[in-house]
Every structure is written in structure tokens, then in C-alpha cells.
Amino acid sequence: MTAEQHRTITLVVNGATHQVDLPVRRLLSDAIRHDLGLTGTHVGCEHGVCGACTVLLDGRPVRSCLLFAVGADGAAITTVEGLAAADGTRHPVQQAFTECHALQCGFCTPGFLTTIAAALEDNPDPSEEEATEIISGNLCRCTGYQNIKAAVLRAAELKRVDR
């Protein structure tokens, strides 16, 4: 058995450039957490069902547990740590989650926040039905989803006021 194949890649996460040497089989979710120490991205099911590990890859939400880190070489990645402003001001989606009590245990929250933040860039004024569709790919075992849906609509409102 020969030594496991490694590659040195560049991960651009929340605007910061990191050079890392890692095994080619390293999942992006594990690279973000273990190699970069950004533990805001949570790992739930590791087969693409729960949505907890969702990050933005070049602005689009994707499951980081279904990507190899080597596949994200050079791409722009946004994790939940990259949502708030540099001075700590919450992102409108984070503010809305606080106001609407859209989380309880918080495990699924990073995936919801990144998913909703990207969806509101695409559709700044979602209907209730569209809000349900936006969060349909993420699992939450605490809230029953109603408060998360309310937070989607509230975040859209906050973003409009911001402008």
C-alpha cells in the first residue's frame, strides 16, 4: 500500500486565503472544520440529507459534505462565520432568527442561515410558499419550521429596510 495521495490547495473562505495540504479524500466539510478550524459549519448526516453543512460555493448553497476539498480549490466559499459584517453586526437573516426565535438547539442553524442568505439574494421578496420552498432542503428537529419560515420573511423585510 502506497502512501495516501495529498494535494496542496487554496481555499478562499470568507475572503481569507488559506493554503492547505490535505488528503484528496478530505470532504470540504471536514477541511473547513478540521484543517481551517472554522467549526461554525456543522456536520449532521454526511450524505446530503440534513443540510446542516450547507455553505456557499461561488455564492450558491451546496452541501459541503458532498464535495471534496480538492474540488473547491480556488473557489470562493462562504461559511456561517462569513455572514455577519466585519464589525460584528448581524446579517439580516441572523437578526431575523433572533427576533423570530427560529432556533432552539442550534445544530441545524448554520445550514439554514447560509441557505436563506443566498436565497434572498435571488429572491428578495419571497411569498410564504416560496419561503417554505427555500427551507425545504434543511432538516430541523426542534422548531417545527414555522418560526424559521417567519424568519425568512422577516429577514427579507430587514434587508429591504437596510437598502
Binding site: 488528503p23 479524500r25 459534505c65 458532498l66 474540488g71 441557505t115 432542503g137
Partner: protein, 284 residues
């Protein structure tokens, strides 16, 4: 839940990809979107020695819509096809079906060609290829061949791709004039694998039904294409007996039971969803 070690290849041209695939033979897998493959690797249901990542291959991410067909490259994401306005105009069934494929975050990464190559009997796009009479283009270091759905889908999770071959693109023809289409399915949750799914195309000439066809997922090992014209031919579209077409379809399927649905429930769904899909298609 971590994949076994593999050798990673990241070709940048089709020629390079085909050479690597020829070299690794039957111990290599093509990685495109990875939305079906990576879960399988994470769960170690598969552990190929070589992974050939085609995401950096130039020229494969295109969605081309001509007047008569939509051609989708191997690394074009479901989301790119779904949002493509010209493609929607040429073959609207693509967008309708893609809205039923998993969830937006999966469609952002998953590829339409990849889901065809995965050949899941519950995969919506397999039925779309069958119903539209589309073909896939298969390339290897030795040459190229175009294959239709009937030959391409061999069994559950099995297509006719041989070691060393790459599914380079898929071509979905437009329907003939006067044809409407629909895709309906029943799943336990939206975005889940369907217990039964039906995509239908109905051609109407001067207010009269001239052709009715449907393709089915989750009721057989491969997408099943049925011509249901006999049940409704010549009937005025407003009063056509779609239920009779549903009964005809029921007599032609032999679904299997699993933990999600019994044989009789699946057969029931075939009848109800056929009538619903045909009526919806006829109204478009």
C-alpha cells in the same frame, strides 16, 4: 462516514479525461456533481481506486438550446438547466421535472447527465429522456456513440456505459407542435424519491387528442415508456377519458413492493397519477 482512499485525477480536457478513463479501466469512477456518488463513497458502498473529477474539463458545462432540442453537457448543473429560459422555451418539461429533483442546494451541484448515468429507477430525468426520445452521447478514447433511453438504461443503477467511457452530453428533443407535457409524482416529502412518478405528453390537433404517452419512475427497474393513445385517440380534449388511460397504464405495469409502498398501492398511484399527468399535459 468517510470515503476510502482513492487516487484523484483532475483532467482539464475531454481528451485527457478519456485517456485517464482508458488507463484506469473498470477501477475508476467519473465524478461530476457527486450528489449521488459522494454519499455512496461516504457510506463505502463503493470504493473505486480512481476518481476522475471532470469538473475542470473545459467545454462540458454548456446548456445549448436550438429550435429543436436542448443539449446538456456533462458538468451542467441541474440548476443551470432549470433556470435556462431558452431551454425552457424549447423543452419546458426539463424545468418541470427538475423542480421535483431533490432540493435547490442539491440541484446547484448535481448534474443532469450525472443523474442519467446514475440510472436510479426513481430519477426523474431518466423518464424525461425516455419520454422526449432523447439520446446520450458516450465518448471513449476509441470513439463516440449516441444511445437512446431504451438501450441506455439496463437495470436499477445500471446503464450501458462501459469502463473507459464518459457520458459527454444528453440531448432532449422538443416535442412536436401541439404537445403539452407534465410531471407529477407522489413522495413522502417534497424532494424525496418518488413512490411513483409519471411524466406525460399529450398532442392535440384541432381540439382532438391525437397522441398520449407517459413515462414512469419507481415502478420498474428502468424508466418505463407507455403509449396510451389507444385509450383517448380522437376524443375531444375537454372531455377525454384520462381515467381510461390510467387503467390502460395500470394493466401494463408490474411494480414491486418495498418498505415505502406495496404493489397494489403503487399500481393505484399509476392509475391516478397517469390521469392527472395527462390532464395537466393536455391543458398546456
Amino acid at each position: 462516514m468517510k470515503p476510502a482512499a482513492f487516487t484523484y485525477h483532475a483532467p482539464e480536457s475531454v481528451a485527457e479525461a478519456l485517456q485517464i478513463l482508458a488507463d484506469v479501466g473498470d477501477d475508476g469512477k467519473v465524478l461530476a456533481g457527486g450528489q449521488s456518488l459522494v454519499p455512496i463513497l461516504n457510506m463505502r458502498l463503493a470504493a473505486p481506486a480512481n476518481l476522475v473529477d471532470i469538473n475542470r474539463v473545459a467545454g462540458l458545462s454548456t446548456v445549448d438550446a436550438s429550435a429543436t432540442a436542448v443539449t446538456v453537457g456533462a458538468t451542467a448543473r441541474h440548476a443551470d438547466v432549470e433556470r435556462h429560459e431558452v431551454a425552457y422555451g424549447v423543452q419546458p418539461l426539463l424545468r418541470r421535472a427538475l423542480r421535483l429533483v431533490a432540493h435547490p442546494a442539491i440541484r446547484n451541484r448535481g448534474t443532469t447527465c450525472g443523474s442519467l448515468a446514475h440510472a436510479d429507477p426513481a430519477g426523474e430525468m431518466t423518464a424525461v429522456l425516455a419520454l422526449t426520445g432523447g439520446t446520450v452521447r458516450i465518448s471513449s478514447a476509441a470513439g463516440q456513440r449516441d444511445v437512446g433511453a431504451e438501450e441506455f438504461f439496463v437495470g436499477p443503477l445500471e446503464c450501458c456505459l462501459r469502463p473507459g467511457e464518459l457520458l459527454e452530453s444528453a440531448m432532449f428533443p422538443a416535442f412536436e407542435r401541439g404537445t403539452g407535457s407534465a410531471f407529477v409524482e407522489v413522495a413522502r416529502r417534497h424532494g424525496d424519491y418518488a413512490l411513483c412518478g409519471v411524466t406525460a405528453a399529450v398532442t392535440v390537433v384541432a381540439g382532438t387528442v391525437s397522441a398520449a404517452r407517459a413515462a414512469y419512475i419507481s415502478v420498474g427497474p428502468t424508466p418505463l415508456l407507455l403509449d396510451l393513445t389507444d385509450a383517448v385517440a380522437g376524443q375531444p380534449v375537454a372531455t377525454a377519458d384520462w381515467t381510461a388511460a390510467g387503467r390502460l397504464a395500470q394493466s401494463r405495469v408490474s411494480p414491486e413492493a418495498d418498505i415505502h409502498a406495496t404493489v397494489s398501492y403503487r399500481r393505484h398511484l399509476v392509475g391516478v397519477l397517469t390521469a392527472r399527468a395527462l390532464a395537466e399535459a393536455a391543458a398546456r
